[in-house]
């Protein structure tokens, strides 16, 4: 026991809120849940989760609600600000304080950065950040780490390729920071010149546990060295002009041809939803794990909810 008990009553606002040891305990539990989900069907019986989505994110909301329902608990909430009291001008603090009177746990998604901290300060029950603007999305990071650990058997000494929009991709920045905490991570940062990682992310790598990085424009030149390839979307609106976008977009689309030189045990990840950055033909490649990743997201949220409610059995 210990680490999981420690999480009882806590908030998860940003990935760094949990120590590496606490994360490990959480992933151990998530693995067990994934192996026999039925054994956990009464874990949150009689408990209520409030999902406050001030902006729509169907995928994340469904993942949290499924997680709670599979634990035997129930979920309430709203899925956009228009249908909530926020439309009448109620503050985040008041909304969360009120909901805390009904529910045992609050999940919040809000377009403003730091909104989850306002919620946590006002709330008597644990708060989970399900995305605060371009700031943090810690359960996505937990999902990514759990998937890597489950597929590769470890989180240290891995060569991680991140490909696509590395400038605006919050998911990518959080994952880089989280993986930098593990021993000897080698990053391959694959992006067009216009979408390179910001300097503060490079500083996270440099402050890491022996992490190294290479920046490159070429997916083809790096793919054969990777243990993990994490794809993100290159969006049209990120470019100043249409020609640059058209010239570059195909270089960052993964297809069966580009997969050929990759190692047999490399895994391909993607936070989903995907648009066209991974060709559908890659889906049947056993190295594509992005749908498993979505499933892991539910399991890790089940583990998280259990731990914050103080119901986690080791």
């Amino acid at each position: 026991m210990g680490e999981l008990e420690n999480l009882k009553g806590r908030n998860l606002l940003e990935p760094g809120d949990f120590t590496v040891a606490e994360q490990k305990a959480l992933f151990d539990l998530a693995d067990k849940i994934a192996d026999s989900p039925g054994a956990y069907q009464d874990t949150a019986k009689g408990r209520l989760l409030a999902a406050l989505f001030f902006e729509p994110s169907t995928r994340t909301r469904l993942s949290f609600e499924s997680a709670m329902l599979r634990l035997g608990g129930q979920a309430i909430g709203f899925s956009e600000a228009q249908s909530s009291s926020a439309a009448k001008g109620e503050s985040i603090a008041d909304t969360v304080r009120t909901v805390g009177c009904y529910a045992d746990l609050t999940v919040i998604r809000h377009p403003k950065e730091g909104s989850c901290r306002v919620a946590a300060q006002a709330s008597d029950v644990p708060v989970i950040n399900a995305g605060d603007g371009g700031h943090h999305h810690p359960t996505q990071t937990l999902t990514d780490l759990m998937t890597i650990r489950r597929e590769k058997g470890r989180l240290d000494r891995l060569r991680v390729g991140l490909c696509g929009d590395l400038k605006f991709g919050r998911t990518v920045h959080s994952l880089i920071k989280a993986m930098s905490a593990y021993d000897g991570t080698g990053f391959y940062l694959i992006s067009p010149e216009e979408l390179r990682v910001p300097s503060y992310v490079i500083r996270d790598i440099e402050a890491g546990n022996g992490s190294t990085y290479v920046e490159t424009r070429s997916l083809g030149g790096a793919i054969d060295r990777l243990d993990i390839l994490y794809m993100t979307r290159v969006q049209r609106e990120r470019f100043f002009n249409e020609e640059d976008y058209i010239r570059l977009k195909d270089s960052y689309i993964l297809d069966a041809m580009k997969m050929r030189p990759a190692r047999a045990d490399m895994i391909v990840m993607h936070p989903l939803p995907r648009v066209n950055e991974i060709a559908a033909e890659v889906d049947k490649d056993p190295r594509a794990v992005y749908f498993k990743q979505a499933k892991n997201g539910m399991y890790v949220r089940m583990a998280l909810i259990s731990a914050l409610l103080g119901e986690a059995q080791e």
Partner: protein, 139 residues
């Protein structure tokens, strides 16, 4: 220029020349009622020119935010004409409601009745970050 010594109160010395007025506003001194002298561009043996603030009959003021403006300043507490305490200002760890976060995506731009809190990141660079959105600033 001469300003009489004070019997009881505070003398803030070695304020960076030209920042004395701003220092007064950071201190929240009420210039309508408090007895205050602001001396600007006084000769200083150390720094060439400096500003000095003298506040009479007031010992209980919040100096934390003054550290932000000028962490080289010294505060002298005077009672009965005697110097009883001398404090060198340092950068405060936590600054509440002195400035507002400028990040338009920050929750502080929409949430009513919220405190604007900045936390010291690095005393070397004098960088602070918004407690909510992590936007960094230097005061």
């Amino acid at each position: 220029m001469e300003v009489n010594e004070i019997e009881n109160g505070i003398v803030i010395d070695h304020i960076k020349a030209g920042t004395g007025l701003k220092a007064l506003s950071y201190l929240g001194i009420d210039t309508r009622t408090d007895t205050v002298a602001l001396i600007m561009n006084a000769q200083s043996s150390k720094h060439g020119r400096k500003d000095i603030i003298k506040i009479e009959n007031l010992l209980d003021i919040d100096l934390a935010s003054l550290g932000l403006l000028d962490c080289g300043a010294t505060v002298n507490y005077i009672e009965g004409g005697e110097l009883v305490k001398k404090v060198k200002l340092a950068l405060p760890e936590r600054v509440t409601d002195v400035i507002k976060c400028k990040n338009p995506r920050c929750v502080t731009s929409v949430e009513p009745a919220i405190q604007h809190v900045f936390l010291l990141v690095d005393p070397e660079t004098e960088e602070y970050r918004c407690e909510y959105c992590d936007e960094t600033v230097r005061f």
